[in-house]
C-alpha cells in the first residue's frame, strides 16, 4: 500500500541539529551547549543562506524600482509579510508592520497610539514580570501625559495575581501591556482571559510576544489582542527585524511613527499625505535582507512542526526542572503551573555570576543576572538568577551536561 498523504516527519533532534552550523563549534575545547535561547536563538543554515542569497543574487531597494532585481527583492520582502501573517494568524498582511524587534514595536505603540490617546489621569497597566522594554516606554509616556502606571503583582510562584488585575481595571484604564511568556520565569500568562477582561473595561491590550512567538501557537485573532510584538531573532531568524501586529482600525487611526521615504503618498512643502498600511509605519529603506531571511526561519519552524517542537521543549523543561530540583541548595525561581521554554534558578551560597563564569568553562552558555527584569528580581529579593532556556535543537544529553556541570561547580564554590 502506498501512502499518498504526506507523512508527518518524525521529530529527530539530531537531524535538526545538523541544520544549525554553530552547534558544531567548540567552546573552551568542549562542544558548545547553548542554553541561552531566550536571549537569542541560533540560526539554521537556510536563514544564513537566505541573507547571502539576497546580497549575491537580487540585492535592490524595494517598492520603488521597476527593474527585475527590485521586483524580486520586493517579492521576497512581501513574502515574509505573508509568512508572518500566517504565523500569527492575522487577518491581513497590511496589519503586519516590520520593526527592528519587540522593543521598537512597543515603542511604536507608545509613541503613535499613546501620544494620541493617553490623557492626564489615564491609567496604563503592566505586570510585575515585564521586561524593561515593556516598562520604560510606558513610563516615558506616563510622565509626558501625567498618566499613571499600574502594576499587576506577581505571586510567590511567579504567576500574575488575576484578582489584583481585575481590581486594577477601571474606567481610567486605557491600555494593558503584558508579556505572554516571561523571559525571566518562563511563566505563561493567561493573556486571552486578561484581554477579555481588559476589553470589558474598555481598555486595549498589547501582548509582548518576544518569548511566546517561538514556544506557543499564536493566533492574534483568537486572542483578540489589539497589538502583538515579537522579535525575529528569537524565532531562529536574524537580528534587526521584528514584527508589530495591530488591529486594522487602530493602525489606520494612529498617527505615523517616523517620517521619510516609503511612508508617504504625496509630499509637497505645504502638506504630506501618507501611504496606506503597512507602509505608513515603515519609513525609509527597511532591513531588507534580514526581513527576507525571517521567512526562511518561519518556514523552518513550520516544516519542523510547531506542535512537535513544543512537545520536545516541554519534555526538556520537565526533565531539567526535575533534575535541577534534586541539586542540594538549588531553588527554582518561578513555579507557575504553565511554563514554557526556560527555567530560572539560584543556588544557596553562590552568586549567579559565579555559576555563569564556571559553566562557560564547560562550554555551557546560560544567562545570569536580572534578565532585564530588575523590578521582578527585586520582588523576589534576588540579585539575579541563572537561566537555562531551550530551543528545538537542545537535547536531554545537554541538560545532563548542565546538571553534571552544576554539581561540579557547586563543589568548587562551596
Amino acid at each position: 500500500m502506498t501512502v499518498s498523504s504526506p507523512i508527518s516527519p518524525v521529530f529527530d533532534v539530531y537531524a535538526i541539529r545538523q541544520a544549525f552550523p554553530i552547534l558544531g563549534r567548540m567552546v573552551k575545547d568542549k562542544p558548545l551547549v547553548y542554553l541561552d535561547n531566550a536571549a537569542t536563538s541560533q540560526k539554521p543554515l537556510a536563514v544564513i543562506e537566505a541573507i547571502s542569497d539576497y546580497y549575491s543574487g537580487y540585492n535592490a531597494n524595494i517598492h520603488r524600482g521597476i527593474h527585475t532585481l527590485a521586483e524580486e527583492a520586493t517579492g521576497a520582502y512581501e513574502a515574509t509579510r505573508h509568512a508572518v501573517k500566517q504565523f500569527i494568524g492575522a487577518a491581513s498582511g497590511e496589519q503586519i508592520i516590520f520593526t527592528r524587534g519587540t522593543t521598537e514595536g512597543i515603542n511604536l505603540v507608545a509613541y503613535c497610539w499613546g501620544r494620541q490617546n493617553i490623557r492626564a489621569g489615564d491609567q496604563i497597566i503592566i505586570s510585575g514580570m515585564e521586561h524593561h522594554s515593556n516598562i520604560v516606554p510606558w513610563q516615558i509616556l506616563c510622565e509626558q501625559k501625567n498618566a499613571l502606571l499600574k502594576v499587576i503583582p506577581v505571586t510567590e510562584d511567579g504567576e500574575l495575581s488575576l484578582t489584583a488585575y481585575q481590581n486594577l481595571l477601571t474606567d481610567q484604564t486605557k491600555l494593558v501591556s503584558i508579556v505572554q511568556v516571561s523571559n525571566a520565569l518562563g511563566t505563561v500568562n493567561p493573556v486571552k482571559e486578561m484581554i477579555a477582561a481588559a476589553h470589558q473595561a474598555g481598555a486595549l491590550v498589547l501582548v509582548d510576544g518576544a518569548q511566546s512567538a517561538v514556544h506557543l501557537d499564536i493566533d492574534v485573532q483568537d486572542l483578540d489582542c489589539d497589538f502583538f510584538a515579537f522579535s525575529g531573532h528569537k524565532v531562529y531568524g536574524p537580528t534587526g527585524v521584528g514584527v508589530l501586529y495591530g488591529k486594522r482600525a487602530l493602525l489606520e487611526d494612529m498617527p505615523v511613527f517616523q517620517g521619510g521615504g516609503e511612508m508617504i503618498k504625496e509630499v509637497t512643502f505645504e502638506h504630506t499625505t501618507y501611504n496606506e498600511l503597512p507602509y505608513k509605519y515603515e519609513a525609509g529603506t527597511p532591513n531588507i535582507a534580514d526581513t527576507i531571511a525571517l521567512k526562511a526561519a518561519l518556514d523552518f519552524v513550520n516544516a519542523t512542526g510547531k506542535a512537535d517542537i513544543r512537545k520536545h521543549e516541554a519534555e526538556l523543561l520537565a526533565y531539567a526542572t526535575e533534575h535541577l530540583e534534586n541539586i542540594p541548595g538549588l531553588t527554582v525561581v518561578g513555579n507557575a503551573k504553565q511554563k514554557a521554554g526556560l527555567v530560572s534558578f539560584v543556588i544557596k551560597g553562590t552568586h549567579p555570576q559565579d555559576i555563569g563564569i564556571l559553566l562557560d568553562n564547560l562550554g555551557i552558555a546560560v544567562r545570569t543576572g536580572h534578565h532585564c527584569c530588575q523590578p521582578l528580581m527585586k520582588r523576589f529579593n534576588l540579585p539575579g538568577t541563572v537561566r537555562a532556556s531551550f530551543a528545538m535543537y537542545n537535547t536531554k544529553q545537554e541538560v545532563d551536561k548542565l546538571i553534571a556541570g552544576l554539581h561540579k561547580i557547586i563543589k568548587m564554590l562551596l
Binding site: K28, H351, Q353, L358, N361, M412
Partner: protein, 150 residues
C-alpha cells in the same frame, strides 16, 4: 623609594604569574581564584554604601581607598566570589603604591594568567570598571597632592 615600590609591584605580578604557572587546568585556576576570594577579608558593612559601589557590574562590588604617606591603600568586597578573587589580586598588586605607579600600572599579569576574558566582559563582571575606579582614586590623590605642594 619610588623605584623600590615599582619593583615591588612587578614582583607581586611575577609571583601571581608563577602561582598560576603551576596550574594546568581551568578548574585549578578558578579554585585558586575562588580561594583568594574567600580569603579576602569582608569589607566592614559601614563601607558597603551606594557611593562605594562600582556601577555596571552584574555582581555588587565595593571599593574604598585611603591615602596615607604618599600611598594609596585599597579595600574591596563583592557578593560574587570569583570577582572577589580577581579583585584580591588587583589589591595585592596595586595597594600600597604611589598614585603615579597605580596610574601607570599595565597589569599585564591578567592576560598572562589567562584571565583576559574577564576584562572583555566589562558589563557582566566589572573587572575593568574596578581597575578604572582604582586608577581614578590614584588620579584624585595625585591631583590633591600636587595642589597642596603648589
Amino acid at each position: 623609594m619610588i623605584t623600590d615600590n615599582n619593583q615591588c609591584m612587578q614582583a607581586s605580578e611575577k609571583e601571581i604569574i608563577e602561582d598560576f604557572s603551576l596550574f594546568d587546568s581551568w578548574e585549578d585556576k578558578y579554585e585558586y581564584i575562588i580561594d583568594l576570594g574567600k580569603k579576602l577579608p569582608a569589607l566592614d558593612e559601614k563601607y558597603k554604601l551606594e557611593e562605594n559601589q562600582i556601577k555596571g557590574c552584574q555582581s555588587a562590588v565595593w571599593l574604598v581607598a585611603e591615602y596615607r604617606d604618599g600611598r594609596v591603600f585599597f579595600k574591596a568586597d563583592s557578593d560574587a566570589v570569583i570577582v572577589k578573587g580577581l579583585v584580591s589580586m588587583l589589591i595585592r598588586v596595586l595597594s600600597g603604591h604611589s598614585p603615579d605607579e597605580i596610574i601607570n600600572a599595565k597589569l599585564g599579569f591578567i592576560g598572562e594568567i589567562g584571565m583576559r576574558t574577564h576584562l572583555a566582559q566589562t558589563r557582566s563582571n566589572g573587572l575593568l570598571a574596578m581597575i578604572r575606579q582604582m586608577k581614578n582614586y590614584a588620579l584624585v590623590y595625585k591631583t590633591i597632592r600636587t595642589k597642596k605642594t603648589q
